[in-house]
Amino acid sequence: MNIKNIINKKLKKNHQGKVRAAHETATISFIVAASKVLICVSILIYCLSLLVPLFWMLITSLKDQYDYATNLFGFPTIYKFSNYKNVLKFLPVKATIVGLGTVQYSIGLMTLNSLLRAVFCPLLIVMCQAMVSYVLSKYKFVGNNVIYMIGIVVMITPIIGSLPSAMQVAKAVGTYDNMFMNIITCSSNIFGLYFLILYGMFKGVPWEYAEAAFIDGASDYTVFFKIMLPMALPTCAVLFVLSFLGVWNDYATPLIWLPSYPNLAYALYILQINSSAGAVGATTPMIMAGFAIIMIPTVLLYFISQNLIVSKLNVGGLKG
């Protein structure tokens, strides 16, 4: 009888334990599922908050001013594609240049300025950083560690308030208001996020490829340009695209450093600032059309390189 009781008790306890475990598992599963839904809904709301203004921009860009004022969020009653043409009339920028007086910059010239900087600056930036990170990651030489340490120090040491000095130096060496000088010196900041990414990338490439090439009589340059750089090309392409996106939309550099070389982003920025102040006749739908126009190249470029971008951007630690 006693033994039967003990067995029954043990079975009951076992059963209770199993039920409790099942209960706990069910609770955890519920919490996990609820969290997933909560996070999913949060991201969904966030995504909608990003899409709504863009969608609003696109439908507004097709309205006339009256339609915009009376029907702010609805679809256009008449689709006014001419906004895309008309905004171009307001984009040309006027600037006063010492010695030349007031100069008007055509859209063609501003597009050229945009393209020159957006193509050549990223090329130089990525190339310079690739060269430095390759040498530092693959060659042992006196001072290698010191240079790498300097890079880390430069990266994490906040130098604040150097703008007045930078302005003086830029004027002294001739990079201020000089497109050519600005482009060839745009890679002056060699130690940054790109350096970290490329350094990590080259570090991971096996040196055996280079050794095999050296045995076959290849020079260091051949190894870099014909073996290592092509292997780093996907990462370099991503960095080029990201840099291109940044420079194409850069209105601040013409504003601060290149006042005689306005680009499209600068023209749109000035148009928007002036229209906010009520100074020019460009309507809000026209300005929205301008936003849409300037987005086209960057959106195209992103969609072409989307898979590369989302897979090749890895940032490691800052251990010195």
Binding site: C40, Y46, P164
Partner: protein, 304 residues
């Protein structure tokens, strides 16, 4: 012996040729600019542009401004700090949670990933101008149409809300870069680690806390260190929103410096030494803080 020397010369000439151009630029535009900035902090420029030694007067003037309650300088410094604190407390956990969602490839992850990238693709510049138009023009009308408020303020023009709105904007657009880098760092974690943890019955919270976070610690640490380093460099969207005319209630230190340098261009060079002294002092405060943060983070690195 001759071959060794020849090879060494070849190797060094290759290294020098690869590094010489970036090094020259670095010396002019980093070392030169910063050395000049320090020198400028001890100088005085008169109206004719003549430069003379000014001792510690610029530093004294900066402290006098602070002590005299120059609210613009001290408030700008305070706002720079609060921008970082909010980023750390609100954004960082959200970046990691959202990144984990994308990394685990939960429902709609592909479309979410694409949409979150919008600020990076379209450019923060366009998003910024669009946000301004939306908030100041469309939102008050939307609120009126929805019957929520007939007098909904223009958030970027009404000085009571401008700082909060710019902060909101910064958080709102900040996800794209982080949600690109963190999921990639998570993807670098070995599949077998996650699989064996799943066999051992870990749930996703345990996976995030005990496996993923420690393994992406170097990336988190990098973002934290560079974030601390950028506290007084981060300008936010003020220039895009307002050019040089932001309401004083929104100023942060970096924007304050920019406005001081770029406005009143005929005589602003007179202020350069004082501004350089401000920069030197703030650098002397924030650089050690950055190194302390780095030291603490390195010390606690679980991947070591």
């Amino acid at each position: 012996m001759k071959t060794v020397t020849k090879n060494t010369i070849k190797k060094y000439s290759f290294i020098v040729s690869m590094m010489i151009y970036p090094a020259i630029l670095f010396f002019i535009f980093y070392v030169g600019v910063n050395v000049n900035s320090v020198l400028l902090a001890f100088q005085k420029v008169d109206i004719a542009g003549r430069i003379s030694f000014n001792g510690l007067n610029n530093f004294k003037n900066f402290f006098s401004l602070l002590i005299a309650g120059d609210n613009l300088v001290s408030a700008s410094i305070f706002r720079s700090l609060s921008m970082f604190a909010i980023n750390l407390v609100i954004c960082m956990p959200l970046y990691i949670i959202f990144s984990f969602y994308l990394y685990k490839k939960f429902i709609f992850y592909k479309i979410f990933r694409m949409i979150i990238m919008i600020p990076a693709i379209v450019s923060t510049f366009i998003i910024c101008l669009l946000f301004k138009k939306f908030v100041d023009l469309a939102l008050p009308q939307l609120m009126a149409q929805l019957g929520i408020s007939d007098n909904f303020p223009k958030l970027l023009s009404d000085q009571r809300y401008t700082f909060q709105t710019t902060l909101f904007y910064m958080i709102w657009v900040s996800f794209s870069t982080s949600l690109l880098v963190y999921p990639n760092a998570m993807n670098a974690i070995g599949v077998q680690i996650i699989e064996s943890a799943e066999i051992d019955g870990v749930n996703i919270f345990q996976e995030l806390w005990h496996i993923v976070l420690p393994l992406i610690y170097p990336t988190i640490s990098t973002f934290l260190i560079t974030g601390v380093a950028a506290i007084f460099i981060q300008q936010g969207p003020l220039m895009a929103f307002y050019m040089y005319n932001a309401p004083p209630e929104t100023y942060n230190f970096s924007y304050y410096m920019l406005v001081e340098v770029m406005t009143n261009t005929s005589s602003n060079y007179l202020k350069f030494p004082l501004l350089a002294a401000m920069g030197v002092i703030i650098t002397l405060i924030s650089a050690p803080v950055t190194y302390i943060v780095k030291f603490i983070l390195d010390k606690n690195d679980p991947t070591v």
